[in-house]
Symmetry: C3
């Protein structure tokens, strides 16, 4: 018999950068003894992203930040939405180029992630924020 459950995570960020939170998600799965199903994560913000990327070499995160800093520069004279500063519109564009929701199968009580995959919150604003992620599980 399939069932569903919800959870709300609050992830504090220290300003721009990638913060892994795979453990928080796996803890919720373990606490509820979910065995097999589908886990969906939805980030309730428009200037940060959810990302699955390599969690081995930290240089990958450094290079992602460097690439996006060049591709979507802060303070681009193209932008007119600058109410909250130089990093406001660039943060919206970075979110648009990535994603705010992810769906990952759960097998045998574990996320079906690859060996090197971790789940990240990518903060695009330069100042620290508190970000809310809604989790949904359907399965057994």
């Amino acid at each position: 018999m399939l069932r569903q459950a919800f959870h709300e995570l609050t992830i504090p960020t220290r300003g721009r950068g990638l913060r892994e939170f795979t453990d928080e998600v796996e803890s919720w799965i373990a606490e509820n003894r979910f065995r097999d199903g589908l886990l969906t994560l939805h980030l309730r913000h428009t200037s940060a992203s959810l990302l699955i990327q390599e969690n081995a070499d930290p240089d990958v995160r450094r290079d992602l930040d460097a690439f996006f800093a060049r591709l979507v520069p802060d303070g681009d004279p193209l932008f007119i939405h600058t109410a909250e500063g130089d990093d406001d519109m660039s943060a919206h564009v970075r979110t648009t180029l990535t994603a705010v929701n992810l769906s990952i199968p759960v097998r045998g009580g574990r996320l079906a992630l690859g060996t090197w995959q971790g789940i990240y919150l990518w903060e695009h604003r330069t100042h620290p924020h508190s970000r809310r992620v809604t989790l949904h599980f359907v399965g057994e």
Copy 2:
């Protein structure tokens, strides 16, 4: 007891640009008295996108259009797929850089969107089109 339901939305566009349709999605949820579950949207096209972005300041949409016009210019001499005109291949690239499906939890009869999040259809072709979005709900 979990159940599921489907719906098909047809969204007319006026050519390139972002058109919010959060209300159409929320109406379907309300009409069917869905309380808690997961809503998935799938856009059945390859030259338009689904996007969750800020629905407060319209300048955000204007800046997104400006950024993408510079990043993926129409009529780029790099492209050989130009059968339908200058905006044909650039539309496929814009779709590739964004998304055609979204999954959003539903809580207490409302989409679990953040305060500033709206659901948009992003038309990438310059001429008006009629775009079809399939909705799926699983829950209670």
Copy 3:
């Protein structure tokens, strides 16, 4: 009564490029006589993507490759994560700009794809790899 099922596909690639596998997904749906529900695909890698794009004119795939080769060049001096070669970090960036999971409704035993939509594995590494995709179905 809703049920769920899982499957694991292994997709061999011939190096960088787009490989359609819509048929493999539809075969699994047909074999299991799934009628209506939601299909989710998750790619267990950080240097390849899942993509829904046009499956008519092969020039679209050629142009996508050309665009990404220019946007995210191999051997970019910006990158310091180069352990596995010139195409290592560029592959992670390409994955970040696209997606590793997709969710598609199933109606009457068929994926609710548009007329021109196909499901692709996009290999971002220059050498051939074997890529694993986990499928999840919930429905009837």
